[in-house]
């Protein structure tokens, strides 16, 4: 059961890698850090909402000030656009640039305000005795904030490099990864101390199969949430208009652009989607393994790497492949740990060994279609 739970978490993270690769053909190394961010945000969110018995409930004043600053900036932009720009343009007799960013700012402010509202909702749910619902709300919160982070990462760092060689983008991704890891360690962020995530999903044991397999409610909910998210994603990608646009961009960006698809918007959407899935994985992971290590710890990097391996094994760029790959890696890891002598300390070797085997015999992955690289 552990294997399936962890496998589905790998799958959730792997989806983010694979979607970005499918569209932009580069590996977003910062993706695993978004996952870590999701786990820590869940912790902070739970603390703020008063779900953590070890901490006092508080919506920190800084949240208010940040939001206030964002609203103020959005307001200034609006004033500039509506009043100052027309007036000044007339006086100076030339057109001043339009503040296109004020829209984005208002978006950020609105998003943040909703997040705070959601937190209050979680607080209410917790005080009304629905710790369960509170968990769901924290999950949504982490997904929202990480979605926003994913959007910002793409806009600020990858978009300016759209026409740069792919290697530049790859190196930038590593830079973003380092930046996120180290910002997370700052004291006003999450600090460097490991901490414990409060239990939001019930731990009760449902039933056992034999002696080795224990089915716990938390595992069922981890797998359940992951499956629901993957079904939604599948529907989104294969049944909706934006999904069709994503697939079109993945097939050929210039052609998609000719067909009237806003490629930049599709790319942003993909990043937001991937980041939200990673955040969900982060929240679920923190429920399963409540001891959270600080953001740059080697354990996180390893988890992200394994999810990446899952994406490659499933066939990178292939969404259903990533889901399958995640499960395969999870199962492989836990069976090795459980049934081979000294397997627990050798599990990583088997995971990365599997990667080598797959790359040797079916380089495009289990579900990948073999295509010859066009040069």
């Amino acid at each position: 059961m552990d294997a399936i739970a962890v496998g589905s978490l790998y799958a959730l993270i792997a989806l983010g890698y694979t979607m970005v690769y499918g569209i932009l053909k580069f590996i977003n190394f910062a993706h695993s850090d978004v996952f870590v961010l999701g786990a820590w945000l869940s912790f902070v969110g739970a603390g703020i909402a008063g779900l953590d018995p070890a901490r006092e409930a508080s919506i920190g004043p800084w949240v208010f000030w940040v939001l206030a600053a964002l609203w103020a900036a959005a307001g200034i932009a609006a004033v500039y656009e509506l009043v100052l720009r027309p007036a000044l343009s007339r006086r100076l007799d030339r057109r001043l640039p339009a503040p296109r960013w004020h829209l984005n700012l208002s978006l950020v402010a609105a998003w943040g305000s909703i997040a705070v509202g959601v937190l209050h909702l979680a607080k209410g749910a917790a005080s009304a005795g629905f710790g369960f619902a509170a968990g769901g709300i924290i999950l949504l919160l982490a997904m929202m904030v990480c979605g926003l982070t994913g959007f910002c990462i793409e806009r600020l760092t990858y978009k300016p490099l759209r026409r740069a060689p792919r290697l530049n983008v790859l190196i930038t991704a590593i830079g973003v990864s380092l930046l996120l890891q180290n910002i997370g360690q700052l004291n006003w962020m999450f600090g460097t101390r490991p901490d414990r995530m409060p239990t939001l999903l019930p731990e009760a044991e449902l039933f056992t199969i034999g002696t080795a397999v224990r089915v716990r409610l938390v595992d069922v909910m981890v797998v359940g949430t992951a499956v629901v998210l993957m079904v939604v994603l599948d529907w989104l990608v294969f049944r909706t208009k934006i999904g069709r646009a994503m697939r079109a961009v993945s097939f050929s960006p210039p052609n998609a652009s000719l067909m009237g698809i806003n490629v930049d918007r599709v790319i942003s959407f993909t990043f937001v989607l991937g980041a939200m899935l990673a955040a969900a994985a982060g929240f679920l992971f923190s429920q399963k393994y409540p001891g959270l290590n600080q953001t740059a710890a080697s354990g996180w990097v390893l988890l992200g790497l394994k999810a990446f391996v899952a994406a490659v094994i499933g066939g990178i760029g292939n969404i259903r492949g990533a889901m399958l790959g995640g499960l395969l890696i999870g199962l492989l890891e836990f069976f090795v740990a459980q049934y081979l002598p000294d397997g627990a300390s050798l599990r990583d070797i088997f995971v990365f060994g599997a990667l080598i085997v797959v790359l040797l015999f079916k380089p495009s992955g289990v579900l990948g279609k073999s295509a010859t690289e066009k040069v």
Binding site: T157, P160, R216, Y289, Q294, A344
Partner: protein, 431 residues
């Protein structure tokens, strides 16, 4: 296509990234006190002159600062200040280790400077972050010695890092005192490296003795970190002592540092039915292992080494870690710690762990040696440290033996209501 303002933002962000990346690769960026950027390793310098580092009020602080600035190029012991280096994991997985130790050292530094310093000179501490990585530890020590020209180096907590840093000190003949590295290899065969704590074989024997004599348990399982010299050493020594005292090891399992899932190992351990589980690792894993053990229905106590010593152990482990034991250098509720604990609380607002006390003692032993040394040159200072005898430290009486280790007792504490409580003082050399 319309160009959005994000083009400019992007460029700024890139520049930031580049800076962060450079700083992360090699922390050569930024002058004193200037490299507080997100990616860079934090380097802090303080003159520690009685907390009067406020905005240019007292002429004293200004003088000390300018002396320090003028001194930076010309060398450690020239001028009016003596430079001491400290390398520690201020960030990273074992961050509380470095931070507690640094707090302890700074507390001692303040007291020494307030009492007039050493031979009329004020002490100045330079701390570099090694992020808990041995390659960073090596370069931090090299930088302390070659560029800052410190007279002595303090650090590290983790044995693997002290071994890396010690090699550099040995090369440049600069004495180093490790506050709390317990693996024998840290000082073995070294001319310049000392420590103010006991060593692992001694600690492991004490744990084995406590288990067999005080707890009267004879069946133990082991779960250790195979990537840490410290953890492996403790496991080997514990196995040897425990079997000699009539106990049996019923299960011996390993994990890799940074692992999050221990269920496979714990299932095996549970099947072996031990009376106690020895987990010689660090506190993050200790807490996680306790949580998962309780989930699997393992009720026997866990016992750890001094790597468990952190306020974050009960924070992570919660109710799972209640009633578990670990061996330590000192316990905050011991009488000889009382004065130190109060001073520490007054300055930092938190109860010190043993590492704070050891950091304090490391600097005090160094200061004591500096006062006795013929000169502050590496060889003379090392000789003076080696001659330390019956030094009254806050963590116990310290005598440096022929192998450069401190001879001190081991304390066993138990987690009760979320804080460590003194249970027994164990001396394995008796009986």
């Amino acid at each position: 296509m319309q160009r959005s303002i994000f083009g400019a933002f992007g460029r700024i962000a890139l520049a930031l990234l580049l800076a962060a990346g450079l700083a992360a690769c090699n922390d050569s960026g930024g002058g004193p006190g200037g490299s507080g950027s997100a990616g860079g390793s934090a380097s802090t310098e303080s003159t520690g002159d009685g907390g009067s580092s406020g905005a240019g009020g007292s002429g004293d602080a200004g003088a000390a600062e300018s002396a320090g600035a003028a001194d930076a190029g010309s060398g450690g012991s020239a001028g009016d200040v003596i430079l001491i280096g400290h390398y520690a994991s201020m960030t990273g997985k074992e961050a509380t280790f470095g931070q507690s130790t640094d707090n302890g050292i700074r507390l001692a530094l303040e007291e020494v400077n307030a009492a007039g310093g050493v031979n009329g000179k004020q002490l100045k501490l330079i701390t570099y972050d090694d992020k808990g990585e041995s390659k960073e530890a090596g370069s931090a020590v090299t930088r302390l010695i070659t560029s800052d020209k410190v007279v002595a180096v303090l650090g590290e907590v983790a044995s693997s890092l002290s071994i890396a840093g010690g090699a550099v000190c040995e090369q440049y003949s600069v004495p180093m005192i490790s506050p709390s590295s317990t693996n024998p290899r840290v000082t073995a065969g070294k001319q310049m490296v000392f420590r103010v704590c006991f060593i692992d074989p001694f600690q492991a024997a004490a744990i084995a003795k406590f288990t067999t004599e005080n707890l009267k348990l004879t069946k133990a399982a082991i779960l250790y970190d195979q990537t840490q010299a410290y953890s492996k050493g403790l496991r080997d020594d514990f196995t040897a002592s425990f079997t000699k005292m009539g106990g049996t090891i019923v299960a011996d399992q390993a994990y890799n540092g940074g692992d999050t899932d221990f269920s496979a190992q714990l299932t095996t351990i549970k099947a072996a039915n031990p009376e106690i589980i020895f987990v010689p690792g660090y506190y993050t894993e200790g807490g996680n292992i306790a949580i998962q053990a309780r989930k699997l229905g393992i009720t026997v106590p866990l016992i750890g080494g001094d790597g468990w010593d952190s306020s974050q152990l009960p924070a992570i482990g919660g109710e799972a870690i209640e009633g578990c034991y670990y061996s330590n250098h000192s316990a905050p509720d011991q009488p000889n710690m009382k004065e130190f604990v109060e001073k520490y609380r007054a300055k930092y607002g938190a109860t010190p762990d043993a590492l704070g006390g050891l950091g304090y003692d490391a600097l005090m032993v160094l200061v004591d040696a500096m006062k006795r040394a013929k000169s502050l040159g590496g060889k003379d200072l090392a000789a003076a440290i080696a001659a330390t005898k019956d030094f009254k430290g806050v963590t116990g009486t310290i005598t440096i033996d022929a192998d450069h280790n401190a001879q001190k007792g081991v304390v066993i504490v138990q987690i009760r209501n979320g804080s460590p409580v003194f249970v027994a003082a164990v001396d394995p050399s008796e009986g």
